[in-house]
Symmetry: D2
Subunit: 144 residues, 4 copies
Amino acid sequence: MPNQFKPYEHKAAYYETDCMGIVHHSNYIRWFEEARVDFMEQMGYSYQQAEKNGVMIPVLSAQCDYKLAAVFSDVVLIIPKIEYFNGFKMTITYKAVRKSDGALLANGETKHCFTDLKLSPIRTKRDYTEIYELFKSCEGVDLI
Amino acid sequence: MPNQFKPYEHKAAYYETDCMGIVHHSNYIRWFEEARVDFMEQMGYSYQQAEKNGVMIPVLSAQCDYKLAAVFSDVVLIIPKIEYFNGFKMTITYKAVRKSDGALLANGETKHCFTDLKLSPIRTKRDYTEIYELFKSCEGVDLI
Amino acid sequence: MPNQFKPYEHKAAYYETDCMGIVHHSNYIRWFEEARVDFMEQMGYSYQQAEKNGVMIPVLSAQCDYKLAAVFSDVVLIIPKIEYFNGFKMTITYKAVRKSDGALLANGETKHCFTDLKLSPIRTKRDYTEIYELFKSCEGVDLI
Amino acid sequence: MPNQFKPYEHKAAYYETDCMGIVHHSNYIRWFEEARVDFMEQMGYSYQQAEKNGVMIPVLSAQCDYKLAAVFSDVVLIIPKIEYFNGFKMTITYKAVRKSDGALLANGETKHCFTDLKLSPIRTKRDYTEIYELFKSCEGVDLI
């Protein structure tokens, strides 16, 4: 685990906007995924590494509260946080913040479980100790 | 308002799948929007009509619980329901059901408010009586 | 093969629009795929059937000329045509037409080859006679 | 105009993959747009600046030849080049290259014209001399 995590940066693309002139709300769910992937890479445990270990972390639920709209070419910081991890289930929260002025654009949350490649639940505390220790050590860590 | 609403049908496209072999979870948020648009058309009050009246219904939050994954070419029924409407705020819930066997794939919810084109809140009960009556009459209506 | 093919219908979704107020140009490439999938189902040889037979039909190139923009909620007919098929390579052309008035929105083309699941080329004329006969019989067929 | 342009970098997102396990082919058209936007920013003439000047540069056609597939988390360099510009029409070509080993993934091309906000053609050479000089000076410039 690194000493410090960096927030994930996403620049809003033209194709992500809609005819209301703002970024379509569905894209935040995608940005959360990008930030989650990046966070796990920073933790030293990438999606690819997980799959090599026979571990999957599917999404059980996703949620987003929209505060202010991003527009084309806004640079948005997505700041994930492992809010809860018990070895089998995990809740990650996200803040989406406009980089230029720090304005909060959205708050979100995804829930996950840890499974094998057949999507059967696994107990990381017993069977994947290293994964357990790693995620546990990142629980509650604030990036900013 | 029609006597009966029809659920919205969406056939899962190839480009909506991901490398896990299933429909990417972000697409359900988009399908909910498609179903919402369709539902309002069935109500006799389309998005375009709303905009002509100077009314917008932005998304305040979106949420989805994933139960079973849809795969490429599954026909999915999206069944929206106006769970709550008070003239200014509205909550819509959604069921995503696999058409072939009726299996529940996902439950979702979006929250909205009614605004003018400058995104200032409007009170439909006072200022847009017809809209108020229409949405109120559809509150709690189950499609299935 | 059916006596007659039906064009594929796609209703432009809100999330497919961009901040220019029109459907983002990348979506036509996706609609072509939807129409191709639908056309093969109408031919009686779906993507899933192909994969069961160990056959893949990857995209070698894609192209689109934009004439008129579709906007939110336009119903667009996508009309594919197998322009060329020689047992290994295939060219499909597409017309995207606004249903309400028949206006041509876009012309497109995709090129494909036939491969096994490891993406090695196959000669359908020799090794998959039924596939060869079917696609050959649909070559040049105009839907409208 | 800067002395040197940098290629645009895009890391392939999970949601950009499809159930064939690779990045869906439609996304390259989107990446080309991201690279075009970035290139114009590097030129010192952003999309937003263009719109302020009452200038639009719509897409007339888009094309992509696929050579090798990108997969999840590949970092892809998109290298645009103004192949042709005559003051009214412009052709941009693109190379998509895998950063890790320089492998060519795709070649593409988009064609554009310059219009006012009502989409009527404009002659930049006569009416927008600065734009004309800028784009002309970048015609044929290779990033790599």
